[in-house]
């Protein structure tokens, strides 16, 4: 197979997966299309560097992740990436005035065991829906940190935000996502609640 045929096969075999993955991270389809296209172009150019240590798909997802980070970096240069409006009260009703959890509203026990949950397609749909409820900038920061494992320092440098703003944004994202997963999965019969 020549390079053109290989690239065409990649689009057939992995295009859908890459497209869906990018759509979870960046909600605009036109940007997603560009990112997936750039990923394949970069893959064609760097094919000789692909040593086969990982699967083709993992390699392509790795390239796509970098493209997404580049996209957010560019966005960070064009506009302020700090979003402190979201959840400014940080679920204050969950705590009594002196600062302890309101026991009725505190975190519930999550069952079943995580490994079991991860094999359920419905769980991943709930995860996607919960992520998509986060405002764009908060979601970008959260996914870079938690999905891609980018260090806090690198995120601050990439998006030009301060350490303290990053921590606040991550805290709010985690709190909102935890709450959403609990409400829409773990407290439902599908999520193991009785």
């Amino acid at each position: 197979m020549n390079d053109g045929q290989v690239a065409s096969r990649w689009v057939d075999d992995h295009g859908e997966c890459l497209y869906r993955y990018a759509l979870v991270r960046v909600r605009k389809p036109e940007i997603v299309e560009d990112l997936v296209q750039e990923t394949f172009l970069a893959a064609v150019r760097g094919y000789e560097k692909f040593a086969g240590r990982s699967s083709e798909r993992s390699w392509l997802v790795g390239i796509l992740k970098n493209k997404i980070v580049d996209h957010f970096r560019k966005l960070g240069r064009e506009t302020s990436f700090t979003d402190m409006e979201f959840l400014s009260d940080e679920f204050s009703e969950k705590f009594v005035p002196v600062g302890f959890w309101n026991h009725d509203l505190g975190p519930h026990e999550w069952k079943p065991e995580p490994d079991t949950v991860m094999h359920r397609a419905e769980f991943w749909q709930v995860m996607r829906d919960c992520l998509s409820k986060l405002p764009e900038k908060i979601r970008a920061v959260f996914t870079m940190r938690e999905m891609d494992g980018v260090s806090s320092k690198e995120i601050c440098a990439t998006l030009s935000i301060s350490d303290s703003n990053l921590w606040v944004m991550l805290h709010r994202a985690r709190m909102a996502l935890r709450e959403c997963l609990e409400m829409h999965w773990f407290d439902t019969p599908a999520g193991g609640a009785s």
Binding site: N2, G4, S8, V11, E146
Partner: protein, 117 residues
């Protein structure tokens, strides 16, 4: 009735220490007074996902967990969220119901063909 300045309500409280007798009450008051309140603890727990927690705060956290199963759950759930988020790329197909539009597929193929010639 003024609110207790430490973790209240022994009823329905599954924490290790829940004021079910006098010595537990003493311990709960002591720990409640000398460790951060839950509202602050959840911020600290979130931050500890991004940078190491100082030794003294780790000790305070352990003590706090004795009187607060909710903060302990919160920490476990933050770790769980991280673990699942890292696995999302493997499950992108299941996570997104979005179709890969045929026209997008063709445009990408065309662009690739132009570039690898």
């Amino acid at each position: 009735m003024p609110e207790e300045p430490y973790n209240p309500l022994p009823i329905g409280n599954p924490s290790v220490l829940a004021r079910t007798n006098w010595w537990q009450t003493l311990l709960v008051k002591f720990i409640g007074k000398h460790t951060p309140k839950c509202r602050e603890m959840v911020r600290i727990l979130s931050r500890s996902m991004d940078e190491p927690m100082p030794l003294m705060m780790r000790i305070k956290k352990r003590l706090h967990f004795l009187i607060c199963c909710w903060c302990q759950r919160y920490e476990e759930q933050l770790r769980y969220i991280r673990e699942t988020a890292r696995k999302l790329p493997e499950h992108a197909d299941e996570a997104s119901g979005a179709e890969f539009p045929a026209d997008v597929r063709e445009r990408i193929k065309q662009k690739l063909a132009e570039n690898v010639r």
